[in-house]
């Protein structure tokens, strides 16, 4: 089958309809995507490099089983047979889970993350595991121990992070759907810079069981797709309470796909939209602001009332995040000690190394610099005598940020901002400047700190570089449906203006295949 299969550019909803109508089989679809991966994904040196592990055999077997179910008239779900990619931070039985780290090289979990179990229970073939910054620490996927993922819009640019692999896979038509995780923007910012849709659901809306934690109080699993409706379908499929995660919300999953479809009708009359003053202006690329403002005008045109709102505590969000996250991460990553699984390195020049020496040598060899930086930060901030000044204070600011959201949502239904301050920057450009890298998450972090849901969807291309710009929508906790309604409306209005999806305008798409092949030949 050709890697240019017409099915590749379809949305998951369209693929599901085609499967239901018998126009295509899951094996054909899955094979088409596997071929596409083989053609464009390349490796650490060239190509998109969205995948760390591809499960050809497993995906095709599941696809065949799906076709049998369809034939018997017993599909497990609407998306039964539609292939999906999974970020390598979610555990998968029988498939390696490395979290982009050397310390977990070769580790095959004995259990599935709850969201993965739900994918399997719904009959979605899993194509493979996608690349990420090591333990989800980064905004560019350059911190993957296995080499960076490249942006399908410009292969010399970053795909965002930490979930650059999932976003790039979807943007390069290597998968119609993917799961990501978002701790400070790791779904939304890659979505923004690759021209795709990414949603960070309400904290607790999806189970975190089997998500290898970076910062437990901020982490959330979410959908990475090309359309708002697809995100809603995937979100509904994997969402809901999990008895294995007591922080998951014990309530039925809201009707998200219905909200997306309603939104696509384009009528937003009665909706009140707040533009966050603190998240638009200084530090934002002019092209980003221009597309953002145009999108806001489209919302007004659809009947929404737009007002400016102020969230004064948001200026402290980044500092707060960089205390809470490393503190939790430093403790989470302590388990990687070479005693039970993962990399084990024996220290050189030591005859009979002690457990402590093996732990030290293994952690030194297994963790990358960014991970070590955050472990050190967190360990320091939690130390006795510093706890109150750092972690304790950060929790108080977190409360203030939540109050800002509450105050804002008292007068508006949703808040909006650009997702990221800039379009995709060049690989290596910010690698030596962690602070500049951290600034990328300025607009996405407040939602994680407060636990509210956020969506990023494409708003167009920046004039100065022709690269995608992301539009962020934020809603009150558990009101995820509002994201899909507003996002569905904006997507419809924008695509009408563009005459089709933004990804169709990607000038690099046509050359992805040759780039990967040439890279492999080098």
């Amino acid at each position: 089958m050709s890697t240019q299969s017409a099915w590749l550019t379809k949305s998951a909803a369209e693929l599901a309809a085609a499967l239901a109508a018998g126009e295509v089989t899951s094996v054909e679809l899955t094979q088409a995507h596997l071929d596409r991966i083989a053609a464009v994904d390349g490796n650490a040196e060239a190509g998109v490099h969205a995948f760390l592990h591809v499960d050809t055999e497993g995906a095709l077997a599941e696809a065949a089983a799906s076709d049998a179910r369809r034939a018997a008239g017993e599909p497990l779900s609407e998306l039964d047979g539609v292939p999906v990619a999974v970020k390598d931070v979610l555990t998968t039985t029988g498939l390696p889970t490395t979290c982009g780290s050397k310390i977990l090289e070769g580790w095959v979990p004995p259990y599935d993350a709850t969201v993965v179990r739900k994918l399997k229970a719904a009959g979605l073939p899993i194509l493979g595991k996608t690349n990420m910054d090591e333990f989800a620490m980064g905004s560019s996927t350059e911190h993957s121990a296995y080499g960076p993922t490249r942006n399908p819009w410009a292969l010399d640019r970053i795909p965002g992070g930490s979930g650059g692999g999932s976003a790039a896979a979807v943007a390069a038509y290597e998968a119609p759907l993917a799961l990501g995780t978002d701790t400070g923007g790791s779904i939304r910012q890659p979505g923004a810079v690759t021209g795709t849709v990414g949603v960070k659901p309400t904290y607790g809306a999806l189970s975190r069981y089997g998500l290898v934690a970076m910062a437990n109080s901020l982490d959330q699993v979410g959908p990475v797709t090309r359309t708002v409706l697809d995100a809603a379908l995937l979100h509904e499929l994997v969402g809901g309470h999990d008895p294995l995660d007591s922080t998951s919300i014990d309530a039925p999953v809201p009707a998200l796909a219905a909200a997306a479809r309603e939104g696509a009708l384009g009528d937003l009359s009665g909706l009140k939209v707040g533009v966050i003053q603190e998240l638009a202006g200084e530090g934002y690329q002019p092209g980003v602001l221009a597309r953002f403002n145009e999108a806001v005008e489209l919302l007004v045109g659809a009947g929404a009332e737009v007002v400016e709102v102020s969230c004064p505590s948001f200026v402290h969000a980044l500092a707060t995040y960089y205390l809470v996250m490393p503190c939790e991460a430093s403790s989470n990553l302590a388990k990687f000690d070479a005693m039970r699984y993962g990399l084990r390195v024996l220290p050189e020049g030591v005859d009979a190394p002690s457990a402590e020496e093996v732990m030290r040598a293994s952690r030194d060899a297994g963790f990358g610099d960014e991970v070590k930086r955050r472990i050190i930060l967190g360990t320091y901030a939690l130390s006795s005598g510093y706890y109150d000044a750092y972690y304790g204070q950060a929790q108080k600011v977190r409360t203030l940020i939540s109050r800002d959201f509450e105050a804002a949502f008292a007068s508006v239904d949703v808040l909006v901002s650009p997702t990221a301050p800039t379009t995709a920057f060049k690989l290596g450009e910010k690698l030596d400047d962690p602070l500049a890298m951290y600034l990328n998450d300025l607009a996405t972090i407040p939602a994680n700190l407060a636990g509210v849901p956020g969506m990023s969807l494409p708003a167009g291309l920046a004039d100065e570089d022709g690269l995608p710009v992301g539009f962020q929508i934020l809603a009150p906790a558990t009101e995820d449906a509002r994201l899909y309604r507003v996002g569905g409306a904006l997507e419809a209005l924008l695509e009408k203006k563009w005459g089709g999806p933004l990804l169709a305008q990607n000038p690099t798409l046509a050359s992805l295949e040759s780039a990967a092949t040439e890279g492999a030949a080098r």
Binding site: L90, T91, T97, C99, L104, W107, P109, P110, Y111, A113, R208, Y209, G210, L211, V212, A213, A215, N216, S217, P243, L244, D245, S246, T247, C327, E328, S330, S331, A334, K335, F336, D337, M339, R340, Y341, S354, A355, E356, M359, T379, L382, S383, S384, Y387, Y391
Partner: protein
């Protein structure tokens, strides 16, 4: 090491301050944060799952039964129960810790500010409880090779994670001051009372020998306050923490030893190190473990993977309603009911026969008779065979039946002993044994009268004395009759007949 000062010498110069930390392993069916079973003695690493092995991505979920047990323990210790509290991570690296942090509680314990009144030789000593909190046990490491059985110097170590995640309640006292010379006894009495309480609550196997109750003894000495000085601010000395003292007797011995050791250091002008020490049951001494320094920083912070525990007041009150009568309250009540003296009561408890006596009385026996059988006849036999009286093989119902036979005049006390022989030999019920062995007392006047006549005829001197009014001499004749009848005579009736015939 130079000889330690005597205990009296220690007391002449110093006042001890103690703190006791007792870990109680709960007997819940599943672990604190996962569904794994908790049964003792399974094959190593067979009762484990991703959560208690700390595998990447696995998450904990609180065992409600563990919380319930913690609240009941807290209530029994007269504690306040938190309306809202959280678990916290205690971070440190050790191979028996799957996650390299222990899920525990830090500044928000489930129970706090309580007390336990313990009896020390008839005096009540109030031990104040600072807190009782929930946590998980670690795995169990066995260090193979090396001289000490510790990780340092071992050839290799084996770790069994079956124990990792088993629920523990840690009960911490406030500093116990003013116990003076009785400090070792107070420590022992406290742990004993706590253990009894735990047993009555039914929340733990409470086996110190299996480690389901483990005591850590903190001890420090302060220079003795001059006589007559007003009790000002208490300045505590540097403390040592002796870990895993695993019997009641060892608790007492460890306190005594540490008091003497501290005094010897202080007497020599030295400084007591703040350190962990290990207790050696065999030699009765403690040795230095790791020094507790600033490096021991556990970096506690609230566990973000668990929701706060917020027991409703209704639930707490419901659990208060399930508290059993406290063991010592129950004992005082029954002592009064039974009319036992303090000495009789202490002996009964000391012999491990309290429950047996209570059940025997419940089966209809008179209290004193029940006490008598268990503490004399049966205790002796248990002692001879080297078992606990409870494991002798005689049931309270059987003892009550024997006593009924005695009171009904079928047998007497002496014959009852043969019934117990029969019971231990498995010869059937007391009634069957009396019948089979022909033990029934003869109260038939014909047979008795002939035996009395014979005794009078054989002992004319004694008979004369009785005729002269020396009734006390009747005992000798009665004895002769009983001998003739092989003990199976109704002694009361024999006496009546003797006195009638010699009136």
């Amino acid at each position: 090491m130079s000889a330690l000062p005597s205990f009296d010498e220690v007391l002449a110069s110093y006042d001890p301050a103690m703190g006791l930390e007792v870990h109680v392993e709960l007997n819940t069916n599943s672990k604190m944060f996962c569904g794994c079973p908790t049964a003792f003695g399974a094959e190593p690493n067979t009762q484990v799952c991703p959560t208690c092995l700390g595998l990447p991505g696995a998450m904990p979920v609180v065992n409600a039964k563990g919380v319930e047990a913690a609240i009941r323990i807290g209530l029994a210790l007269n504690c306040e129960i938190a309306e809202w509290c959280r678990f916290a991570r205690k971070n440190y690296f050790y191979p028996d810790m799957p996650k390299n942090f222990q899920t525990s509680q830090y500044d928000e314990p489930i129970a706090f500010e309580g007390y336990l009144d313990v009896d020390v030789d008839g005096d009540t000593f109030r031990v104040e409880i600072e807190r009782a909190h929930m946590e998980e046990d670690t795995g169990k490491a066995t260090h193979v090779g090396g001289a000490t059985g510790r990780i340092q110097g071992a050839d290799y170590s084996l770790i069994d994670y079956n124990r990792a995640g088993i629920p523990l309640i840690e009960i911490v006292t406030k500093p116990i001051l003013g116990a003076g010379e009785r400090a070792p006894e107070v420590a022992k009495a406290y742990v004993a009372a706590l253990r009894e309480l735990i047993v009555a609550l039914g929340v733990s196997d409470a086996r110190m020998d299996q480690g389901s109750i483990r005591a850590d003894v903190n001890l420090s000495l302060a220079p003795k306050a001059p006589a007559g000085s007003t009790a000002g601010e208490v300045v505590l000395g540097t403390r040592s923490e002796t870990k895993n003292v695993n019997s009641l007797r060892s608790v007492e011995r460890a306190v005594r030893y540490e008091m003497q050791r501290h005094a010897s250091v202080l007497d020599a002008g030295g400084k007591v190190l703040q350190e962990t020490r290990h207790w050696h049951e065999d030699t009765g001494v403690t040795t230095s473990g790791r020094e507790k320094s600033d490096a021991e920083d556990y970096r506690y912070f609230p566990e973000p993977d668990l929701v706060p525990v917020a027991p409703s007041r209704e639930w707490v009150e419901e659990l208060r309603g399930t508290l059993p009568e406290l063991p010592w309250v129950r004992r005082a009540r029954l002592q009064a009911e039974w009319g036992f003296s303090d000495l009789e009561m202490r002996d009964t408890v000391g012999a491990g026969a309290f429950d047996l006596v209570e059940q025997t009385i419940a089966e209809g026996s008179a209290p004193q008779a029940a006490r008598k059988w268990w503490l004399t006849e049966l205790a002796r036999r248990a002692n001879e065979t080297g078992v606990d009286v409870a494991e002798l093989g005689v049931s309270p119902a059987q003892v009550a039946a024997v006593q009924r036979l005695v009171e009904g005049g079928t047998i007497n006390d002496k014959l009852a002993r043969q019934v117990f022989d029969g019971l231990l030999a498995g010869e059937g019920t007391p009634e069957e044994i009396v019948a089979a062995r022909g033990l029934e007392i003869v109260s038939d006047d014909g047979a008795l009268s002939a035996a009395v006549d014979k005794a009078i005829a054989e002992n004319p001197d004694i008979a004369d004395k009785i005729r002269d009014g020396k009734v006390a001499a009747a005992g000798a004749l009665i004895g002769a009759v009983m001998k003739e009848m092989r003990g199976q005579a109704d002694a009361g009736r024999v006496r009546e007949l003797v006195l009638e015939k010699l009136a």
